[in-house]
Point group: C2
Chain length 209, copies 2
Amino acid sequence: MMTLYDCATAPSPRRARILLAEKGAPHQTVQVDLRGGEQLGEAFRRINPQCTVPALVTDEGSVLTDNAAIAAYVEARWPEPPLLGRTPLDKAQIAGWQWRVEFEGLMAIAEALRNSSPAMANRALPGPVDYAQIPALAERGLARLQRFFAALDQHLAGRDFIAAEQFSIADITAVVALDFARAVKFRPGDEHPHLQRWRAAMQARGTMG
Amino acid sequence: MMTLYDCATAPSPRRARILLAEKGAPHQTVQVDLRGGEQLGEAFRRINPQCTVPALVTDEGSVLTDNAAIAAYVEARWPEPPLLGRTPLDKAQIAGWQWRVEFEGLMAIAEALRNSSPAMANRALPGPVDYAQIPALAERGLARLQRFFAALDQHLAGRDFIAAEQFSIADITAVVALDFARAVKFRPGDEHPHLQRWRAAMQARGTMG
């Protein structure tokens, strides 16, 4: 059976957790204590030298150490329901939105949080190398994420899903991004009616944890 | 026929150009003058409101505005030879390396260049919104890209390709990243023998432009 190295409070492994739930893919879960630094210790380094979660150990014993690899693997092993799209154009729209939610959403939030939080001094990037915080990058991240969620709200007007008129991995990533944004005190308000409606519909799926 | 909006001197559209050449996918090319700011003008904004290249107009008239969407579309329309992998594990390894080359390689180089070049003042990020340069981010980008290429050199020891023992989109992205790094004065040296051997083998394919 597959093993997911997870951390219940962190956004990145939550993406893998929701994906596996949506696919109904059988797996066991091991919690990694990120706040206690377990990901940087010898034992976890032997599992994933990148020192990050999620890490997914497949049935064959391969270790997949990022969400891109995990999504490609899970979609190929459990094709139904397709979460990366079925037709060429659907696949394109889902991949494009996935990229945009990652780059304009998740990364902007991570920039804002990791470059400002006292608890993350010298941890401005994930992984084994320490990087100092850059306060100006935290400010830029905040500006970017506000623009992104305003644009996403407009995009969701009249739409039930982010891409290709179907539930997809882009919805999963955007749910995780929106909830993660609370860490930098962003919450959707009255000016984001479409975002709020879409988020409530996603919750009703019962897979968002 | 498909139309690729391209810019011969820029790294992002080069990724799409090589992909289409490797697939032998028929298309015409329109050059966009990025130095002259044509991507920010009204005419191009009507084609791609993101104001970026590459943009690929499909046979059906859909506009794909980033490399993630273009790769997913082209792979689905022209499955042979597969550049995103064939088996679940190959797909995972290629997607994982693609992500790593983008995040640790291309983005680090873009951070280093866009936050330091006098010609890119207020253009620290691509797209329609101006962002001020952050000098500390330029420095961090330089440190990250040197670490990345050192790690990639080690990874390529005894390997002909970046992922899954086959030519893939991860090789295309890494070629573009390595050549783009010249813009911030990084070139592989004697300490990168595997990177140099791999880069020469990629050139011999005749598709790298």
